[in-house]
Symmetry: C2
Subunit: 451 residues, 2 copies
Amino acid sequence: MDGTVLEPLLVDLYELTMAEAYRRGGMAEVPASFSLYVRTLPPTRPYLVAAGLADALDWLEALRFGEDELAALDGLGVLPAELLDLLADFRFTGTVRAVPEGTIVFAEEPLLEVDAPLLEAQLAETFLLNQVTLQTNLATTAARCRAAADGRSVVDFSLRRTHGIDAGMKVARVARIVGLDGTSNVAGAVRYGVPASGTMAHAFVQAHGDEREAFRLFAEAFGESSILLVDTYDSLRGIDRAIEVATELRGRGVELLGVRLDSGDLAELSRTARERLDAAGFDRMQIFASGDLDEFRIHRLVHEERAPIDGFGVGSSLGASKYAPTLNGVYKLTEVDGRPVRKTSVGKVTWPGRKQVWRAADGSHDVLALADEPAPGEGYVPLLEEVMADGVRRRPDPDLDEVHAHFCREWDALPDELRRIEEEPARRVVQVSDQLRATAAGVDARIEEGV
Amino acid sequence: MDGTVLEPLLVDLYELTMAEAYRRGGMAEVPASFSLYVRTLPPTRPYLVAAGLADALDWLEALRFGEDELAALDGLGVLPAELLDLLADFRFTGTVRAVPEGTIVFAEEPLLEVDAPLLEAQLAETFLLNQVTLQTNLATTAARCRAAADGRSVVDFSLRRTHGIDAGMKVARVARIVGLDGTSNVAGAVRYGVPASGTMAHAFVQAHGDEREAFRLFAEAFGESSILLVDTYDSLRGIDRAIEVATELRGRGVELLGVRLDSGDLAELSRTARERLDAAGFDRMQIFASGDLDEFRIHRLVHEERAPIDGFGVGSSLGASKYAPTLNGVYKLTEVDGRPVRKTSVGKVTWPGRKQVWRAADGSHDVLALADEPAPGEGYVPLLEEVMADGVRRRPDPDLDEVHAHFCREWDALPDELRRIEEEPARRVVQVSDQLRATAAGVDARIEEGV
């Protein structure tokens, strides 16, 4: 469906018009550094789970302007032949320093930094922002749903609700990173190695004259992996019929996996379902729940309502959370020709200079510093690593198992108060090194002098 | 980047497990009808602009399971060889009835209906929901931003904020449908024929030692299409410098297009900018604004604050609106083997039967009816048209110019009270025909009898 998207043209026009102005001004090759970070976190989100780096690096490595792209650009009627000639020989030659995928970060901490000739670094803005902020946002949502479920299973049901196919695939990818238990998305399961998971639709029940018959046919087809959806007409009656069919199948030596609730009062229904299943001797049959779930709803079901639910299917809120429809990620010039720069727009001030983030050994705080400062003290660990040099990856990306293992270590090191699912969560504010503050003051003085 | 996505596998696993159960039960070929509609509208949204049909039809026409797909499905270890054999010969042979793209519709009105053998129709669920609800949601957002701007220009700046690449491209597509004035997305502009639009980034200003010098270089490169971004350091000072540079360029016979504000109090700043530009003799230079704009903010700027802004650039809120992070679109079985069916789950009841939506000639109301009912009266127009038969399009899709023209007619016919940008907008509730109500009651009685 996206076969005709010209991927090198996934840029904002202004990147090309600026490229032309840099070219004319003799500035295309001036060394520059940009920092990609999230300015402020969504109100209910105390942290971010970094993701999207692999796709960002893929795009940078592949970035070329072939005949089709150059013809398309020429057709815009905005860019002169001199720029198109320059783009014909373009390749990205820069350095990328980034936090590994699966790392937990906070507002104002760079997710990645690009050091490259000004024209090259500028062209990367839109694609890098798109993929890194999307995947970071999705990974954060997935991590929070997993945390809310507190050991119960969580399955991605979001593909029908995601903003298109790319987002749907990326939900499956981050599901693997944070360790969700499965995805309904078959293409995502195949591509990213997430267990494929699914039950049945209401249509299956409706398609048969009788709910019992539908359950029986499904159970005969899928045996011990069968989960029966009980709410097509009336959930309680559906539970009773599921028990009837489970009893029949037990007579043939087959134990069904469980039932799924998808509407109504899930806490109440799950208790009744548990009682009836147990009373009928099906204490090992599981109860799955879905239907407008999100991290807060799962948290309430598990921790407040003590609902006996074994697993959750999450759709809309995993695919496009209302708590964080977007992240305000930015990609800001921080240094040009060795000179630190910053923006001082109202409400949108940026820190100057190439940076490093240092995390205290006990995980209690982070320090935002200039890249060439020494560690702020004993045991601090730097989060940004050089992952690309001269436009080529320094090493193969870690596979998703490794990324997941890294995420698990990050999660284990996250203080309790930041893990909680709360409407007004604790906030971690990154500390800023003295040297970075001094550099910023110097830049401000220069701006005040009217440069 | 999505080169390895196996598009036929953009299905939820349960569609394949149900397919297997239908096959085993001898029901794969039973004629069935599904209806795709949005259950309830987002709180601030009184209508939807239908979009996404072309991509849905593309996918259905192309749907085949080749060797790679079959090997991937086999690798899941869930589906038996008999189903894979059946899928090897699969093609979609059904009929699709749909409202044309650009049509304005309301809650519970089908956007499309599929009549096909049960197995085929079921497989289409996820992809159709994904694309039709995404594009319908995006088109609705774009239409509302356009309405709020009330004749001033609106440009799509969303690519960096959309949920991935597919969504970013689809924003450009719907921008064309509803008639936005441009997109910053170069790939989208090329593919969908939207004017490419852009100004400059703060980085461009920062990259030069002096804001004036940056403006001058940009203006020299882009002459009369130059829009100078004035808020990198201080917007008012930026405006004065833009005027200096505009004066220099006027001396050389070049008139700059305008300035762009991107932070601070846009109403206040735009008034000051207007005054200073006018006083300096630049009354034809335009003022563009961007920065966390959405339909409500644009509406306030235009209608309440009377800000002298000529055009708006909208990013996050066009790409992923917090007012409608997702639509609760559903795809529900409504008829099987000639028998109307419905779901009666708590809060999720569906209307049975294949449907038509009739719009009154004066546009005052719609009637939801069974597909084979006559028109409810004189002058009613049916919204659903047969667009695919035996799995093949009935005719080529209208081009995007035609879709835009159709949207414009729809918009002109929309009553004023539904066009307004209000927190609690007027609501149109679709009327339900007597025959549809009677059919539903008949289905309920059958469900009550315990089927």
